[in-house]
């Protein structure tokens, strides 16, 4: 049955309505606030009963695809199952009620969890010190590049303002470099998906602050010559930054610290299964080698004997500073903590292994079914890239069309058109929490869509047909901006 669209909440409003049981009683005294500072007209907020609000948002939720309801193989996003236990324990009432500025005497419980999380992240990444403050991968990247700059400045080297990124890098990498006042130097990857060592040797200089890499790369393959890459960059006086977006592929199998990285960020909302929440909150915890430790963003948890406490700006004079008002996304950190305790050391390794197994299984079955892998001679990491450029050329059916048709079959599309290097690509990441049947069904569906593309291309080009909306006019959205509802009267 076709899902029904849901009105806007404002369209349910009736003057005077509200969840009145939730309203405090009217104040006994008028506010002691000068008239000139008072609000004259009430804000445009809904006036609906509690039941109307509950129905509205429940129905809205039912218009979403989610991990809880659909296979969601979004490459580089690591859409693995979000264990309910993580949410339940992070939301224990005492954890929820604690004010960020509450004293350490009333925080030993949460601080113990955060400290142990720091320690476990150090262990799985092979880094010397960890800070949990950055609130997303991009903020982790910012911290990382800022630390690299601070490190060079502290050495008296003002010239190092260039950040090298592979051309296939995620957009946040060059955007971060710019935010840190650096310039970006892109280098190509070769036909097999590895960074070109030749290009790298020409790119490094006395202006190199560092290089930002993901490993396995955004092309879904392991950077096989990472040790040489590290040697070249270090040899030129630069540092290596690891973008942890693809850590799920190597969790428990390889550690970024062992590969030679000086600073990393981990996406807790990917590898450590904290919820994606419709676009966050995430967490971009950062780890560093010993020489960068003084520059870590504050606050950081430390342990003295059996007491936990916060380190702040006063304790870390060389820190790049704080990036948030308080300690970052603490509730997210607690969820990651629970997840890591549920995995344990054995579970970490199994994650890396089965994420990789599932991706390689899909790679084998999809290529067997006639699809073109972008890097057919390589092992998949935890994700694989299929290119539909042949279908685009021969059938005029694109990756976008396949993606939209997948929705009709109850599967969220993989990542499309990223990495930019591979034309008409689908970046597919099954994750380790999917069963073999789900993977087989995905292959079946892809085969079916291929057949439709050959026999009834319009059906695919016009997809999706069974969602609450058909394909949306993006051009109109940007040209005729409608960003807020306005009452008609």
């Amino acid at each position: 049955m076709q899902p029904q669209p849901e009105k806007l909440i404002f369209e349910y409003s009736r003057s005077g309505r509200g969840a009145t049981d939730q309203w405090p009683p009217t104040a006994a005294t008028p506010p002691a606030i000068p008239e000139s500072l008072r609000r004259a007209r009430p804000p445009l907020l809904p006036e609906v009963s509690e039941l109307d609000a509950v129905r509205h948002f429940t129905r809205l939720s039912q218009l979403n695809f989610s991990i809880d309801t659909h296979f969601y193989p979004l490459g580089s996003c690591t859409m693995k199952y979000n264990p309910k236990a993580c949410n339940a324990f992070a939301m224990l009432p005492q954890f929820l009620a604690r004010h960020p500025l509450a004293p350490e005497s009333h925080g030993q419980g949460v601080l113990a969890c955060l400290h142990e999380l720091q320690e476990m992240l150090k262990a799985v990444t092979g880094m010397q010190a960890v800070a949990l403050g950055p609130m997303a991968g991009a903020q982790g990247e910012f911290a990382g590049v800022a630390m690299i700059r601070a490190y060079h400045r502290a050495r008296g080297d003002q010239a190092r303002t260039e950040i090298i990124v592979p051309e296939a890098a995620h957009g946040t990498n060059p955007a971060t470099a710019t935010m840190c006042g650096c310039s970006v130097r892109e280098i190509p990857v070769d036909a097999d998906g590895d960074v070109s060592l030749e290009a790298l040797r020409s790119a490094v200089s006395e202006r190199t602050a560092g290089i930002m890499l993901t490993n396995p790369s955004t092309l879904g393959v392991f950077e096989r010559r990472i040790v040489e890459v590290a040697a070249i960059v270090h040899g030129a006086g630069g540092l290596l930054y690891y973008d942890g977006a693809n850590l799920n592929a190597i969790l428990g199998k390889v550690r970024p610290g062992d590969m030679g990285f000086d600073v990393i960020h981990v996406n807790l909302h990917k590898t450590f299964s904290t919820p994606h929440g419709g676009g966050g909150p995430g967490s971009g915890a950062v780890g560093v080698s010993a020489r960068l430790e003084p520059f870590l963003p504050v606050p950081i948890v430390v342990r003295d004997a059996d007491r936990y406490r916060w380190l702040s700006e006063a304790d870390r004079p060389q820190s790049i500073g704080r990036l948030s008002a308080f300690a970052g996304n603490t509730g997210v950190l607690l969820r990651a903590y629970v997840y890591m305790r549920l995995l344990g050391r054995e579970g970490m390794r199994q994650v890396g292994e089965c994420a990789t197994l599932n991706a390689n299984y899909l790679l084998a079955r999809l290529t067997e079914a006639g699809f073109d892998a972008a890097y057919p001679k390589r092992r998949a990491s935890h994700e694989l890239i299929v290119t539909l450029k042949r279908q685009a050329r021969e059938l005029d059916v694109t990756a976008m069309d396949f993606a939209k048709r997948l929705l009709d079959y109850g599967v969220h599309a993989p990542t499309t058109y990223f990495p930019l290097l591979v034309p008409e690509c689908l970046l597919i990441e099954p994750t380790e929490t999917e069963s073999r049947e789900t993977l087989d069904r995905f292959v079946e569906i892809m085969v079916r869509i291929q057949r439709e593309a050959e026999q009834d291309a319009e059906r695919v080009r016009g997809a999706p047909h069974t969602m609450v909306v058909r394909r949306l006019d993006d051009v109109r959205a940007a040209k005729q901006l409608d960003l807020t509802w306005k009452p008609t009267v």
């Binding site: 948002f57 609130m135 909302h269 990036l323 948030s324 609450v468 949306l472 993006d474």
Partner: protein, 454 residues
């Protein structure tokens, strides 16, 4: 284990389909020297029962003291419906709405949120959130500098009455782009930004002026005078506001000729305190500035059948399109918290939010009246305040707070570190969650502690 469904038989069959003998073969491209053998420093797995027990112990260890802390994070009642719906799997485990047709729930929620925030702040457009109020302020500084093409100075005036952590975070985030944040002092008696301090910049090239309302002390600034000063010099205004207070207070869109960029901390709108996060920052602006806004924004459009639908729009500003020339590097934001806030605002409506604001203001007045009855405690400033205020004590604050904490009361924030010129000063807050009995208890414990010490 690890939520992996595979049995040994599954794995065997899958390996056969791939054409390898073992999982290890799938890692053959990785240099053997790099492979981790095991992770001794990571503890062995716990099951859900075991970790549940540990978390319960730890939560209980933190207790649930009676708190009068504010300073940028506020305790308000959160209706049970808010998180019951927000933690539904369809919201909780959904991704960023890149495939719009499969994400209309999230997208419509954000559109409704943008509408509510724009109206609350008196502005014309809002984004889909930033990480928190402090980083939102930093982004607003960067945005103001981008917008103000006339200014060459990169100097932004930031009153000392702006939250100290917001000033620190903004410095960390903007330092590498050579922006200079210059502090404006406040008048000691009123607790408001000093007009004199501002006048010293009268002829100078200033890129932007920030104004926090209520300010960090809880004091209400003379926003019209400050705004007019800036606007008459074509200096863009960055307003930093408390969203609940906006149910009572004139929104920044109506300060003087109107602020240019409005940011703030959204936590008071249905988000639990949770030791500091996750919260969300909001950012609202004038329609003509939307292309310089950082972060995601949702727009309403039509589908192929001419029906309305929602999609992410103006993506050319963002990192995945503009890369090195993006307005910000932000990608993941705070979607789940935006969902909670939208539900909260829908439940409360304009009247409910006004009740929360008024009740909080009233409780805070009651609180200050009660504790300034205690010998040795007096109000620091003469100005009207919203729901928190500064009191001065006749002795150091830290030991006093420690003694109160032992009695399971968190009395407020010691300002000695960030505002030493105030002497022994305490920032204390009350919201609608505090009863008269709570306030009486605080006052009497305070009296007991102050009279027992030397």
């Amino acid at each position: 284990m690890a939520f992996i469904p595979h049995t040994a038989a599954d794995i065997e069959e899958m390996l056969a389909a791939i054409g390898v003998a073992s999982i290890e073969q799938l890692f053959e491209e990785i240099p053997p020297a790099l492979r981790t053998r095991n992770l001794p420093a990571v503890p062995s797995a716990l099951n859900e029962m075991q970790i549940g027990r540990l978390m319960m112990q730890r939560a209980l260890a933190d207790g649930q003291p009676l708190s009068f802390l504010g300073a940028g994070a506020y305790e308000h009642h959160i209706p049970a419906a808010v998180w019951a719906i927000t933690t539904r799997g369809e919201f909780y485990s959904a991704y960023t709405p890149y495939q719009a047709e499969a994400s209309q729930g999230t997208l419509q929620t954000i559109y409704e949120f943008q509408t509510m925030i724009a109206s609350l702040t008196g502005m014309q457009a809002a984004n889909a959130s930033l990480y928190d109020g402090a980083s939102a302020f930093a982004e607003a500084v960067l945005m103001a500098v981008r917008l103000n093409r006339k200014s060459e100075s990169l100097r932004v005036l930031v009153p000392r009455t702006v939250h100290p952590h917001y000033r620190l975070a903004a410095r960390s985030i903007t330092a590498n782009q050579e922006i200079r944040l210059e502090e404006l002092d406040y008048a000691r008696e009123s607790g408001r930004t000093s007009r004199e301090a501002l006048e010293r910049y009268a002829g100078e090239d200033i890129a932007a002026l920030a104004i926090q309302q209520p300010n960090f002390f809880g004091v209400l600034e003379d926003v019209d005078a400050l705004s007019t000063w800036a606007q008459s010099r074509s200096i863009p205004i960055i307003a930093i506001v408390n969203p609940v207070s906006l149910a009572l207070l004139k929104p920044p869109g109506e300060w003087g000729g109107g602020a240019d960029i409005v940011v703030g901390e959204g936590q008071p709108l249905g988000v639990p305190l949770s030791s500091g996060g996750p919260y969300f920052g909001f950012l609202a602006t004038r329609m003509q500035h939307v292309r310089q806004m950082p972060g995601r924004v949702v727009g309403r459009t039509l589908d192929l059948a001419g029906r309305p639908g929602f999609t992410l729009t103006l993506q050319a500003r963002e990192q995945h399109i503009r890369r090195g020339r993006a307005t910000s590097n932000i990608c993941t934001n705070q979607g789940l918290l935006v969902t909670a806030a939208t539900i909260y605002m829908s439940l409360m409506g304009p009247q409910g939010l006004e009740r929360v604001a008024s009740a909080s203001h009233e409780r805070a007045r009651e609180l200050i009246a009660a504790i300034t009855q205690v010998p040795g405690v007096r109000a620091a400033f003469t100005s009207p305040f919203f729901h928190e205020a500064v009191v001065r004590l006749d002795r150091p604050v830290a030991p006093l707070l420690a003694a109160l904490a032992e009695r399971d009361i968190l009395g407020g924030l010691d300002l000695t570190g960030s505002y030493p010129e105030l002497g022994n000063a305490l920032l204390t807050c009350a919201t609608e969650t505090k009863t008269s009995a709570d306030i009486e208890r605080f006052a009497s414990e305070l009296r007991a502690v102050l009279s027992s010490a030397t």
